[in-house]
Symmetry: C2
Subunit: 670 residues, 2 copies
């Protein structure tokens, strides 16, 4: 991840020229979400169509240009992040984790650059297409895919665009790209300039894509003049581009002057300044050379003396960028900032935090991470089982045409895709084998040593060898803040072989803005039923079942108990889902985004049991005692889920556990 | 309603004979709603189909024979009620009210007799077909339509059955009917016996209808012998009948012996004893003559001396029937009782109450009265506006193929049927014009005199002329128990010209078994947002709007304000419904059966404004001052609905009203 080792194509340098002029009305529709105080005749109200899902989060239904317009109208500040595709599969795993972490800060979008030499439209895990696909579908990020057009046939370009659309990508940054060879000739029928690509997209895909184009605050280096370049930019917009991201620059005045000039010649679409935080001496030098930009003297003077001190240069770069950003925002002409991250996290995050536009606690539109695929816009309910494996859930439901819509039961029992390949890069654990062995035990001696792993994961304390257990096969992250509320009880039951993998406390109407359990728009109330899911031995199951059939739990607790062979014991009404998370909002229908669904539980149990083998047992040699212990658990334990329906009362599931332990201690009493 | 004036056909006498024997497996499927403790493989669970709506009330999805079977299995006692079609349109209005009242007691079904001479399959409001249709669709009663077959062509019979199916009728009592003339000959190809009709139904309509046939505890009078008659009955069952209702009898031993004999020859379907409470001397005599039954000596001895004392006879009849019913129930062989009501209410209700099987407070499956049309089984959400006019709502949505399913917004804006004919008998007010004038004023002198009518309706006190106002054009019944909770505040605002027509208090999680606000299965919690709907003058609207825009209400209260011309002011999010009643139940999804829906509100306002004219203004002479006052209100007032979204806090809508009045009192302060 040394920026000096990056190919130049991975730096934000675009080469292009604008040629053709053709009127095109870029329709940047601004959607007003509330008809407050509006007066409309009855006929029109009657005839209007309704949304199929409650618009809890208007942005889920908006195009990027609409979201951007909304922020320009409201004056809310925002940012976006540019990444380039990694060179290795391991790099892809790390980049996806970075997407997840940087996604927490609330970027309006990210973009992924396009590298003609790197097979960018292929299915390789390092291709631009697949990285963008992963960002949209698995990380839930609004994503812009770069695309260059020179030296490509119309068919190739159309093929890329069709694939992008199929994958759920909705935004294209249309670029010319580097010509091959020193001299290059325009092809009469070909794609010579970005505007050709803009026109082609509008012609072949109508208004499906939002299109971004590049702007040059100092004029394109190959342009006849600054003025000619401005006219080319206007032509790109007229041809159908929705917004502009600029090349990097070193002084806020440069951008502000450019923006005024754009406005003066009638460019009205959003223009987003491209911010390049200086992160190293060499990357700066090479960038400048390629982009033909001149580094201002005052910057050179600071940098030259510290050129071998990476930390010092980065600190300076953060300082410099933050102060330029502040000037831009203060100008009143800029509400969004685009960051060339160079795939690095620290500098950009630091700048955003200093500017106060990194959202420390972004409001969750729903209790689970939404996907940004347009098909999944209507998705508003998921089974609780995949709570810690949302990417697996998305993967296994990616072929669905229809999402459980308003009610899980509405969807006619869709089949979940198989999860055979646990090594898909976007599903892969962040930890390598050696780390996993340190956490989960180089050698297991008994079932109890497995109990200990769970207990260390819950407690957060280091294990006997001094390693913290930060993940389990079913949870790639440390305990959620919400689960922390249950820590003490979880610790207690795991010690006794109740191996918990998922749980939530009951909530009887907390404000939707609650920092831990809140979700959805403000002014609402959220509710939960207590939930507990765990593996345990058949001896424990026998006692548990006796307890669950006691009068005090019989009508109160719903249970599903299943082993790897699918032998299933339940007291749930026929295949009906049980809503375990719901929210009540002003002027809305009730939203019930999380359910315990008996049908999907049978799919989940296959995955949950398989994770014992795929992620844990396979760490050990075949026939080794450690492996046989995990295999034994896989073959003989049961997976259990429990719901306490009495959400207004104290969670009784811990008492169920207590009663079970008591029964196990004194088996003759029952 | 003097039973002595009834045509004989209206008495429960069936003439028929059983002839043919053909095996038919009557599939009386017994549905078990809980798979408690059941063990099933994962594959089968995965493949099972789901219900499209949460099965809150399993019975809504069951056929009559399944409901009956469920009660036989559980031992729960039940009853059913037989009615005959009225002779006049007025009689139809009264009968529908009676259905509503007697429906409160929780009959398993009602049945409507078939009168070949009375054009029973026509569209007349007094036809058997239309009365049964009204019972099913508008009163929500499981209904059995009688049908006779002799002297009718196959085409006529098929036509009747098709019509019944189209109207949502699901159960037929297949009878022979009276032959015309003294002597009658069997037609070779025709319908000579009830069994022909049973076979025809099964042949033409497969398993669509549940079929009932008649049984004769003493043997059919025309049968060769008691034994031959039993064999005929068995043949009818084998041909496809699902259950048997018997002719009346006077001693429990008669029925119990008959039942044993039926079982002995292999009749296994339910056999329901027909109970005839003696309600008058003449009706008994005529019935006995026609049915060729002999009245036991001990009954004759009691009745003869009191034959001119109707009350004494009725009291005796109640006593006699109740004691016979008790013997039947105590035998352990009987769980259901079928009552020949003769369209009268008191005797049957009294017997049922004495037996303890009249449900004083039947649990409501949903907060509104469900319809029994099979198409509406999935209906689980309605707009609140028609809360007091459920029959009108059903009428206006009867053409819908699809009901808002799980979410109001799912239904793609179905058009509501027009409500032009306010005189449809099932929508008609129970009170005649003279009574309405007494309640609503023989003469109105000002808008204030209209305010008073509303105030008297709310308070329940008699008006100046000493008449209680028991209904309003928007409410055909006195205040609901729930609305009574708001009485004091409603009284106060109506005096000031806030003419309330619909309201509900807020409820923050009351048990679903709450006698006033509860609904749905036990073990759940119900919630409501406070709601208030009223007409008021434009002066009041101006002040109200100022109040609603105050900060403390702005985000808390949703409003829709509309006049007769459809001019519409709202702060609701775009056409989204606001759920105002919902329930959380063990092991279920959340149910949200009542919404404030902006689209349907525009349809409701047409109806709500029209009621001023159709039901009130038209009581007065054209051009009369009274009529002009109502017309003025119709033309100038606004219809307002308010929802307080803060269901956990104290209802703020009364404070909104207070603030509005204050503003009106001191207009300069604002």
């Amino acid at each position: 991840m040394d920026p000096a080792s990056l190919g130049w194509q991975q730096l934000p340098v675009w080469k292009e020229r604008i040629m053709v002029n053709e009127p095109h009305s870029a329709s940047s529709g601004s959607a007003s979400s509330r008809s407050e105080g509006s007066s409309s005749g009855s006929e029109s109200s009657k005839d209007s169509s309704r949304c199929s899902t409650p618009v809890l989060d208007a942005e889920r239904h908006e195009r990027l240009r609409e979201k951007m317009r909304r922020r320009y109208d409201s004056g809310d500040k925002w940012f976006s992040l540019e990444f380039f595709p990694p060179r290795t599969a391991n790099g892809a795993v790390n980049l996806i984790s970075r997407f997840d972490r940087m996604g927490m800060g609330g970027p309006l979008f990210i973009d992924v650059t396009w590298h003609p030499a790197g097979d960018p439209g292929s299915d390789k895990e390092t291709s631009s297409m697949i990285i963008a696909n992963t960002a949209v579908n698995y990380c839930g990020l609004e994503t812009v895919l770069h695309m260059t057009c020179c030296n490509q046939t119309k068919e190739e370009i159309t093929g890329h665009l069709q694939k992008a659309k199929r994958l759920g990508l909705k935004n294209i940054m249309a670029l010319r790209g580097d010509p091959i060879g020193e001299e290059w000739e325009e092809e009469v029928e070909g794609f010579n300039y970005a505007i050709d690509l803009v026109k082609h997209i509008r012609c072949e895909f109508d208004d499906y894509f939002d299109i971004c184009v590049a702007g040059y605050p100092k004029g394109h280096p190959e342009a006849e003049s600054y003025e000619a370049d401005l006219r080319h930019l206007k032509e790109k917009v007229s041809a159908g581009a929705d917004f502009i991201i600029t090349q990097l620059f070193f002084r806020s005045e440069t951008f502000l002057a450019f923006m005024k000039d754009c406005q003066a010649i009638g460019i009205t679409c959003p223009i987003v300044p491209g911010i390049f935080p200086i992160q190293g001496y060499h990357s700066l030098r090479q960038l400048v050379k390629l982009s033909k930009l001149e580094v201002p003297q005052e910057i050179k003077e600071v940098i030259e003396p510290i050129k071998d001190n990476d930390a010092a240069i980065r600190n300076y770069g953060v300082e410099l960028a933050a102060s330029m950003c502040r000037e831009l925002l203060d100008s009143g002409m800029v509400s969004g900032l685009h960051f060339y991250t160079l795939n690095r996290e620290v500098a950009t995050t630091e700048i955003l935090k200093r500017l106060g536009i990194w959202k420390e606690d972004p409001r969750r539109p729903l209790p689970w991470a939404v996907s940004a695929h347009p098909k999944r816009r209507v998705e508003d309910v998921r089974p609780i089982f995949w709570a810690s494996r949302p990417k697996s859930y998305i993967h296994r439901t990616q072929e669905w045409d229809d999402f459980p819509n308003g009610r899980w039961g509405n969807s006619s029992s869709p089949a979940f895709g198989e999860l055979k390949d646990y090594y898909l890069f976007y599903l892969k654990s962040k930890s390598p084998r050696e780390e996993l062995l340190k956490m989960w035990g180089e050698e297991l001696t008994s079932e109890e040593s497995v109990f200990e792993v769970f207990t260390f994961y819950i407690s957060g304390e280091p294990n006997g060898e001094g390693h913290k257990v930060t993940c389990l096969p079913w949870n790639d992250d440390p305990l959620a803040a919400e689960t922390n509320l249950l820590k003490e009880q979880l610790d207690k039951v795991n010690r006794r072989g109740i191996l918990t993998i998922n749980s939530q406390p009951n909530i009887n109407g907390r404000p939707s803005t609650d920092p831990i359990v809140g979700w959805g728009p403000s002014g609402g109330y959220v509710f939960q039923k207590a939930y507990l899911e765990f593996f345990t031995s058949s001896e424990n199951i026998t006692a548990l079942l006796k307890v669950l059939k006691m009068k005090k739990y019989e009508l109160r607790v719903n249970y599903h108990i299943v082993n790897v062979r699918g032998e299933n014991i339940t007291n749930a009404p026929d295949l009906q889902p049980n809503a375990v998370t719901w929210g009540i909002f002003p002027g809305r229908e009730i939203i019930q985004p999380t359910v315990v669904d008996p049908v999907s539980f049978m799919y989940w149990k296959d995955e949950a049991f398989a994770l014992w083998i795929e992620q844990w047992a396979k760490l050990y040699e075949e026939e080794s005692p450690s492996r046989m212990i995990i295999q034994y658990i896989h073959d003989n334990y049961y997976l259990v889920n429990l719901v306490d329906n009495e959400f207004p009362l104290e969670n009784c599931l811990w008492q169920v556990m207590e009663d079970t332990f008591e029964l196990l201690n004194c088996p003759t009493e029952q």
